[in-house]
Amino acid sequence: MYQSQHTLRKVVCALGVSAILAGMPILGHAWEPQKPVEFVVMAGKGGGADKAVRLLQSIIASENMAPVPFTPVNKPGGSGAEALVHLNGKKGDNHTIMFTLNSFYTTPLRQPGLGVDITTFTPIARMAEDTFLLWVHSDRKDINDVADFVRAARNKGSKWIMAGTGKNSEDNLLTDFLNTAYDLNMKYVPYKGGGKVAKELAGKNADSTVNNPSEQLGFYEAGTTKALAAFTDDRLPLFPKAPTFKEMGYDMVYYMQRTVVGAPGMSDEAAAYYNDLFTKVFNSPKWQEYRTKKSLQGDLLTGDALMSYWKRERDVHEVMLKKMGAIK
């Protein structure tokens, strides 16, 4: 039976319609993409996620890791809603993957109407976790640690401006954390994109931010801004002087995932292929260098481990959003 099928396949191939069969797993051959892979970015062009995707794309291309190009497609609409709905509609597609953030959890929680269940998506690889720090302008000579910060912010009451990236975003969650933990009344002003937020602090249009290191790095290295504390488990190698909130006795640990996810119902062979591919990318010197430079944390997670991470994180975010009053 197998023999006859094999012969048949040979004939068909000879007829030059192999493309029809190419999508099927052939015994003994690993699955490989047959056409350019659509690499959806859950954010606009030029943002942190977009830069990372273009770096991943360049690593795959320049190291010849895949037989086809990976094409970034930006779907920034609705805080990731557009991208999630797009990927959700690609059930069973082996050529669509997405680079995702924490709006992967929060957007479906806040908009159940989208009909997106993230547990149906195919876990591929968590490439990193981005970190958050508390930043102020370097000209604030009176602020050198969190205690100074709390004093200054409390004095200014609601006139203290915390700039962040959008309402109910990661920055907003952290601002709420700080307001509750230290009994502050900081005013949260949402801006479009972390780069803009960093600039508002450097230009003194905001009093503080909770930027990712990559967003503040330029200003930090020029001595314009300084980091007071980190929302991480351990101190970051790049900012050894910034203590963690955890060591100061506050349970404030928060990371942003930088993860590659596949369409729901992707074939096991395709999922295995992308797992392998992004493991290779993860271990490449270029990605490791980028991780060090941008102070990225988080180990590589793939497959089931990634799925259980998602489930855990989604529950954590559900509790946080409820506390904020963003969902019931």
């Binding site: 291309a61 959008g166 600039k199 314009t224």
Partner: protein, 509 residues
């Protein structure tokens, strides 16, 4: 001063390496065509070609991409003038008068005007860039939400006179644009809004190019088809010719436009350096102001060469300007520089205040390459004008379907979503009907560009000020800009009242 010249000299040494010179010429030519293809534009062109640049060192890569960006700014004018379809969002203002000129058989004049104005705009801005980068970077840095909103008000104010006489029709058009600009995602509340009929395509909002290509590209085509059907027949193809004598005459006439061009250059550069504004608002504002300062404002929209020169000078100046916040602050001044910023990350360069110190060869090589790109693009562009004019001689029955397909591609390319193509066709039909009923369309286009910039800026300011509008007047930069905007806004009204008092209307009965 001498230090800067020395650094610039080193930059030129980098530029004159044969490989880099080749990259500039190649980039400019490629950019010219990318800009001329509707919907492709510099953003997509640079994004598509980004992976190619891993083959050369970072300095060569940025020089190549900057040359494409630069060439595309010129190229955008070509389809605006020739076909009435804005090649890129930055070239929309160029259609307002470029297209009428082409219809009158003066496409060559408009193209030369655009090329020369672009050259002037580019040159002025790159000189400003060379000598005043640090202080201007400081201005960009302290420019906060209230300043941004004041600037947007100024942009709206410059456009008051654009709609023609019927103020209510103008207001209606602005409102349509503002409503469309509100579709999608509200950054302040974090909620999707106006997602009409729950169609997911509306989640990413209404793309400005979809509206512009719809009403100018498709709308213009419908208009022309109608003229043809009614036997007018001379619209799409006009007796376009090109000759040395005509070129020289056109160049001589350009001397008259120096005021509009220089104004556009400075304005474009300044708007360009402000993060998030970019070349599109800059060119639209330049058009509005050129009309205000013109001795013959009634000619605008009917084929005034200043109406081509001012926005073209501005968009080239802005493209240089938007490199400033990218390099010094790590903030993109326009969507295209956002991609360039992504490229710098890939090349392992950290944009920000340290870049000028740590990678001076990269920065000055880029700046010097802008001088070279500016010159090359002018020469390439003028050399190609006869070819472009030939295209206009194509029979309408062939040209029309080609334009239609270009429009469809243009609508699809930015988001790669068929939803936008359908939307564009709807806008084309609606735009055609509005034009039949004498509604001005430019204000709607302006509103959809400026709306998404003005609205968050206003709301952020009001959150900061706890609801007080005084924040727009109290601040050092915002105050004067806001007052200028209000004066400009009410000037026509005062003028009317004044005229009425001076010479009372003759009694009707």
């Amino acid at each position: 001063m001498f230090e800067i010249l020395g650094l610039l000299g080193q930059g030129f040494l980098v530029v004159f390496e044969p490989q880099n010179l080749l990259l500039i010429v190649g980039g400019c030519t490629l950019g010219l065509f990318i800009g001329a293809m509707p919907g492709l534009g510099s953003v997509n062109g640079v994004a598509i070609l980004l992976p190619l640049t891993f083959l050369v060192p970072p300095t060569g890569a940025i020089i190549f991409l900057a040359a494409i960006y630069y060439g595309a700014m010129y190229g955008g004018a070509i389809s605006s003038i020739m076909l009435g379809i804005p090649g890129a969002s930055t070239a929309v203002a160029t259609t307002f008068d470029g297209r009428p000129l082409a219809k009158q058989g003066m496409a060559d004049k408009a193209l030369i005007g655009a090329a020369v104005a672009s050259f002037v705009g580019g040159s002025i801005s790159v000189v400003l860039f060379t000598f005043f980068a640090p202080p201007l970077a400081h201005v960009a840095l302290v420019f906060g939400a209230p300043e941004e909103f004041a600037l947007m008000m100024l942009a709206f104010a410059t456009f008051v006179g654009l709609g023609g006489d019927d103020i209510f029709k103008t207001l209606f058009s602005i409102c349509i644009g503002l409503v469309l600009s509100a579709v999608g995602f509200d950054i302040i509340s974090g909620e999707p809004r106006l997602v009409l009929w729950d169609i997911t395509g509306f989640l990413h909002g209404v793309n400005f190019l979809v509206l512009a290509i719809g009403i100018y590209g498709i709308g213009e085509m419908l208009w022309t088809v109608e003229e043809h059907a009614l036997g007018g027949g001379k619209s799409m193809l006009s007796e376009a010719t090109v000759s040395v004598a005509r070129t020289l005459a056109a160049l001589r006439e350009l001397v008259k436009t120096w005021k509009a061009t220089v104004m556009g250059s400075f304005l474009g550069y300044f708007v360009g350096i402000l993060p998030a504004a970019g070349a599109t608002p800059g060119s639209l504002m330049a058009y509005g102001i050129a009309k205000q300062i013109s001795k013959e404002p009634e000619k605008f929209g009917e084929g005034a060469i200043e109406g081509v020169c001012a926005p073209e000078a501005a968009n080239n100046a802005a493209s240089t300007g938007s490199m400033l916040p990218m390099l010094t602050l790590g903030i993109p001044g326009s969507p295209t520089t956002a991609i360039l910023l992504g490229g710098m990350v890939i090349w392992g360069l950290e944009p920000g205040p340290r870049l000028f110190v740590d990678h001076s060869e990269f920065v000055w090589g880029l700046i010097a390459s802008l001088y070279a790109a500016n010159l090359f693009t002018l020469l390439i562009n003028i050399a190609f004008i006869p070819v472009f004019i030939k295209v206009l001689k194509t029979p309408f029955t062939i040209l029309a379907p080609v334009i239609f397909i270009l429009c469809l591609i243009g609508g699809y390319a930015p988001t790669q979503d068929m939803h936008d193509v359908w939307l564009m066709i709807v806008f084309g039909i609606v735009g055609y009907l509005m034009r039949k009923l004498d509604y001005p369309l430019a204000p709607a286009v302006l509103a959809i560009v400026l709306g998404p910039l003005a609205e968050p800026a206003m709301r952020q300011s009001l959150i900061i000020s706890e609801g007080s509008f005084m924040i727009f007047f109290e601040r050092v930069y915002a105050g004067p800009i806001m007052i200028a905007a209000l004066i400009l806004l009410f000037l026509p009204l005062f003028k009317k009242v004044y005229d009425r008092i001076r010479k009372p209307q003759p009694q009707a009965e």
